[in-house]
Amino acid sequence: MRGADKVIEALERQGVEYVFGHPGGAAMPIFDALVDSKKLKFVLTRHEQGATHMADGYARATGKPGVVLVTSGPGATNTITGLLTAQMDSSPLIVLTGQTITSMLGKDAFQEADIFGISMPVVKHSYLVRDPNDIPRVMMEAFHIATTGRLGPVLVDLPKDVTQGHPLPECTTDFPEKVYLPGYHLHPKPDPQCLEEAAKLLMASRRPVLYLGGGCIAAGGHQVAHAFAEKTRMPVTNTLLGKGSFPEQHDLSVGMLGMHGTAYANRTVEHCDLIMSVGGRWDDRITGKLSEFCPNAKKIHIDIDPAEHGKIVMPDVFIEGDARQVMEELINLVGPIDTEEWLAQIDAWKKKYPLKYGKKGGLKMQAVFDRLYELTNGDAVVTTDVGQHQMWAAQFYKTKHHRQWLSSGGAGTMGFGFPAAIGAQFGRPDNLVVAIAGDGGFQMTLCELSTAVLNKLPIKILVMDNKYLGMVRQWQNLFFDNRLSGVDLEGNPDFVKLAEAYGAKGLRLRRNADIDKILTQALEYNDGPCLIHAECEKEDNVFPMIPANAPLSEMIIEPPKHKLAAPTGST
């Protein structure tokens, strides 16, 4: 059997449904083998970056690994942003790249790129296969590594002579019964002593808060998190990636924390006497100034990755393990905590600092997301790019379902939202999928309109057009004397016409008064993708805001009246 056929067989054995990608010379044997597969559906993208985000969106929406197939050279290097995005947010991807023939490796052959070397810092693991007989083992290991422990992307570089069966021999080995990886240690069962200690700290606390991150969703920990919060009567906050791990409508939820989180979530964290992270990583968007982050609170950190232990915050107790498994054991060791006074205080904060936005002036992004939430009953699968629209969407599109919210958190990748929505819609054909994109981000991957139209995917695409790279403009406005530099997106196309040019439905939204009408029209449209060009107010800023590296107590809730010092934190 040709190596290429073995690659396809490996994908079929793993239950892969879709392969996202783009062909080229070095990958031709694999594309040829794909013709004979009855199980795999190939989705031709218009750019390899789009393929990686689609596979990532598919993975985040379904919990199954996303698969990408591209060629060598530029085809391979175009996957780097997608690999980084997946690596930063621990999303399981398998990226197969074609490569020049083994005898030409290192000789600057046509479309040769050392993708094995280039990608190393942004993958969980990677392979350069030199022997066709290694294919079954490598493919099994790749899937095993991507989908266990802390999830992440794995790249497999496949030289053309390894896959095409000549002049190198064909693949004669079979799939091993199990993988043997002596250096790959999967998490142990949670340590009973750590569990006891954590339970003791929890029961001694009076102002605890449960902080849920992306790891809680990856582990399928949403149900036990719910039970845990209700049993202990702990308030719950979630990160951007943790949206969907606990219903934000619940009385115990304070919503998202961090730089643009709710004021009441940040007050809760600021004043807590115990914070328990479940699958979170104390990101700098969350802690603000580290030396002043909850200095007097006990900290419990539950994470599947032992390298997270003390990386940012040194916890009192670290429990290595799968978020779900740890909570399922810990819940048996705890009872109700006396949080009545604490919850009353939090309620007062909720009343004092509600999320709000002005109703006057041009079209408000906040109002669009607020209404989208109501009109979709909070059930849509929502994807975003990065920036102002992302933060407002996170604030106003409250989540309640596991795997409902797909956003590039760690990498902050512009152009993620739309292709991720395509991948999510393939994986969840029966769900409503809404891509919320910025005018900047959308223009980075909009070529995938072809992919969405050809596959008749009923995605709703909201292009939030304020003719600015809004978040950067906000920083220049607040911290750089409004000296605007490189943020003007004057010259944006007419996105309605653009959608129509691709054969998609296009709708225009200009006034707050039309939000319901236009959104309803889009939601009722079912003949392929529908794009809304939302022409928004140009100069609105996102609040609350904690300037980078400021302590949580310095949260800015209302637009400031005086000039602010430039933040000292990273971006």
């Binding site: 190393m120 250096g183 790959y184």
Partner: protein, 182 residues
Amino acid sequence: MQNGSSTSTATAAPIVDQQTDQQVTIGLLVNDRPGVLVRISQVFARRAYNIESLVVSQAHIPNSSRMTITCSGPVDVLNQIILQLNKLVDVIHAYDHSDDQAITREMGLFKVACSVEERTEVLQLTEVFRGKAVDISEETITLEATGDSEKLDALEKLLNKFDLREMVRTGKVVMARGSLTT
């Protein structure tokens, strides 16, 4: 090293925690696979940390290699580095051997140019350090010495009094004492 402790002045507040740097010796057992060295060195390089000494050789277990790495930095960063090394799929384990429970050795070759009159002194010095002469020419004498790194440092210092033309050191190797695992 990025986080030097002597860079701050009275007027400029220090940007990084003023922790004194420590040296760490890490013993690794790794899969003998292409790329493993790059993955390991990237854990250091992404912080712009410098590997001071690196020794790689075959292990007694098939398909695996031994590495000994020496690096300096603040303790918390070094601890994080060791955790991240252990996280690599091709690293079977990485242990910190900076304490005294380990034997460390290094071998050095020293090429000294010296006159016939100076030779006796150089050879006496070599003997004190339990080294030996391995090559001799009309102008030069080449010495071999083994020991912990401090011993070789001391020998180098003394040989500098002569015309030390070249020095090549293997870098430090480590082995845990007794039944402890390296």
